[in-house]
């Protein structure tokens, strides 16, 4: 188990005053992993990250990094880097001095600082900006300075708070590539916090979905995307048709509905993405309420005895008229089986 548990959170409980933000959180992260904390605002993801950085001391529980208990180690003595959402560059210092800040505190020889900062700025492509003040840089450039400032410290873990949220679409792609490159080149363990499932899916090796201060699901992007285990996760990753299951029957509309296939015994709910809904045949009937065209597909909103259903079809097929009644099916074998509902 040597590659397991590089960073361990054990029964971690975090609170602001009397407000508990995170309760009894257990998580272990392997060396070199790129992990995303995904969840809506207020779910405790940023709080957890700040406690890993040492900016918030846990009410109880432990944080272990590389075999050492760092729960009570203060923020300035942990080998943890943090790229803030606001970047938090020091406006009174040049780009060079920002990146050199931590190295100077370490009292490294000037020549070593010089070469590390130069290399750090070069790797993020900002060599020629070293004499500028942060205020003269664009948002994307500021973020790369913040990244370089953390990376020159050679942290054991690099934390990133919403690294892509303040960037426009083009820069977002650039930064995504940048982060993957940094991780590949340095092998640093990275954790980033995001509320955007797309970011988490495309960037992370593993995703930790959080809700109300607890972990809802941990898994690979494929797990999370295809096999959500709770109603919340299913909803969060785009399953639009979600129903509770009770006694092997679907709870929807006016009453329980028998299902054709067999379900695992602990199934609490079923969820379908719009494109998993079969249109044109099946046991159910629905009226087309509205349609929207999105290039390659058409999405329909159906009024059905089960409630509103969203379905999607290839745009190459003929459009279905609003007001017409069509048959449809919710194939059980395609559905995501939810263990938690509510």
């Amino acid at each position: 188990m040597s590659d397991a548990a590089f960073l361990n959170l054990e029964k971690l409980t975090l609170a602001y005053g009397d407000t508990v933000a995170v309760k009894d959180l257990d998580l272990s992260i392997r060396k070199g992993e790129l992990v995303a904390f995904l969840g809506p605002s207020g779910c405790g993801k940023t709080t957890t990250m700040r406690s890993i950085a040492g900016l918030l001391s846990p009410a109880s529980g432990a944080i272990k990094l590389d075999g050492a208990d760092i729960t009570r180690v203060s923020a300035n003595k942990r080998s943890v880097g943090l790229v803030f959402q606001s970047y938090a560059l020091f406006p009174h210092l040049t780009v060079f001095e920002n990146v050199a800040f931590g190295l100077r505190l370490k009292k490294l020889p000037a020549s070593e600082i010089e070469s590390k900062v130069t290399a750090g700025l070069k790797s993020v492509g900002l060599s020629k900006f070293s004499a500028r003040k942060p205020g003269e840089l664009s948002g994307g450039q500021q973020q790369r300075v913040a990244l370089a400032r953390s990376m020159v410290m050679e942290p054991k873990v690099l934390l990133l708070d919403e690294p892509l949220s303040n960037l426009d679409a083009r820069l977002r792609l650039e930064m995504r590539t940048e982060l993957q490159r940094v991780q590949k080149e340095t092998g640093v363990t990275m954790i980033f916090v995001t509320h955007d499932q797309g970011e988490a899916l495309s960037l992370a090796d593993r995703i930790v979905v959080m809700l109300n201060g607890a972990i809802e699901q941990i898994g690979t992007p494929e797990d999370i995307y295809n096999r959500p285990i709770s109603r919340f996760v299913a909803d969060f990753v785009g399953f639009e048709n979600i129903f509770a299951v009770e006694g092997g029957k679907l709870k929807a509309g006016n009453g329980p509905i028998d299902l054709s296939g067999s379900l695992p015994p602990d199934t609490a709910g079923l969820a379908w993405r719009p494109r998993m809904v079969t249109l044109g045949s099946g046991p159910f009937q629905g009226t087309v309420r509205g349609a929207s065209f999105s290039g390659s597909t058409r999405e329909y909103l159906l009024d059905t005895p089960l409630g509103a259903i969203k379905a999607e079809e290839d745009a190459a097929l003929a459009a279905r008229e609003t007001g017409s009644t069509i048959a449809f099916d919710l194939p059980v074998e395609k559905a995501a089986c939810l263990k938690k509902f509510g």
Partner: protein, 275 residues
């Protein structure tokens, strides 16, 4: 932006002319008086003033107390402002209210309280005798210490308020960023907080320094004639000796010191903005 000059002047001039007649002109004449001697311009009033050792003592004391009050209020101000800024918004509002409150209370009333506290039978003396630290009442009133305490209490709120707004204008997360990069609290203060709040410190410092120089009530009540400051000396020169020339000299010194502090403030503030 409206362009009509006549309209603009009609709106602004009454106030300016009023301030000029009631303030500027009489004060300028008063100041000029100090540079006149036997119908010609001369600095003799100044050489006479500074040749008197008492006047020199008073001048240096005023300057020294001003600096001390400013320095101590800066230290306390940072601690208090930092504590207040980190409160929840609700508590922060209440605390700021408590800091503003004394500014609204008559300085006669505020200074008078120190007589009750520092007097011969005041609380401090009673406490000292009770604990056995002294057998006889110690004289606190009419000492520099009393004036210092009174001035500090009078002007500390101005420093705290300036530093609160400076701390609030600091970039979010600058302090945690420095922590994560390895700075201890001492380094966080000197490498991040101080440079980023310099402007607020300068504004607060100027207010406190100028206020201390030009306060009258506090040195009058707590210093009396034993601990004269420039303002009380001026009053004494006029009322006791009818010496308007000395008054003019003191006035000029006070104004120069106030303006110097003000200019320094503007200088430092713009130096920062230019970057």
């Amino acid at each position: 932006m409206f362009q009509n000059r006549a309209e603009a002047l009609a709106l602004a001039l009454p106030a300016a002319v009023f301030a000029a007649i009631v303030f500027l002109v009489p004060v300028v004449i008063l100041l000029a008086e100090g540079f006149r001697s036997a119908d010609s311009w001369s600095l003799s009033a100044y050489t006479t003033f500074f040749s008197d050792p008492l006047n020199r003592t008073v001048f240096l004391r005023t300057f020294r107390l001003g600096l001390m009050v400013t320095a101590v209020s800066a230290v306390i101000g940072y601690a208090a402002a930092f504590a207040i800024v980190n409160l929840s918004p609700r508590n922060k509002g209440q605390m700021i209210g408590l800091v503003v409150l004394p500014l609204m209370i008559s300085s006669v009333a505020r200074t008078y309280a120190w007589i009750v506290i520092l007097g011969r039978t005041g609380i401090v003396n009673q406490a000292l005798q009770l604990v056995g630290l002294s057998d006889e009442p110690i004289r606190f009133l009419f000492t520099e210490t009393a004036v210092f305490i009174g001035l500090l209490q009078l002007f500390l709120p101005l420093m705290i308020l300036s530093l609160i707004s400076a701390l609030e204008n600091m970039p979010k997360d600058a302090i945690p960023a420095a922590r994560v990069l390895g700075a201890n609290w001492f380094q966080v203060f000197f490498k991040v907080i101080l440079p980023l709040t310099k402007e607020g410190l300068v504004i607060g410092g100027t207010l406190v320094f100028t206020g201390s120089l030009t306060a009258y009530i506090t040195p009058a009540i707590l210093g009396g004639s034993k601990v004269l400051m420039l303002e009380t000396l001026l009053y004494q020169r006029v009322t006791v000796a009818n010496d308007f020339v000395a008054a003019s000299v003191i006035a000029f010194i006070l104004i120069v010191m106030s303006f110097a502090a003000n200019l320094l403030l503007k200088r430092l503030a713009t130096a920062r903005n230019k970057r």
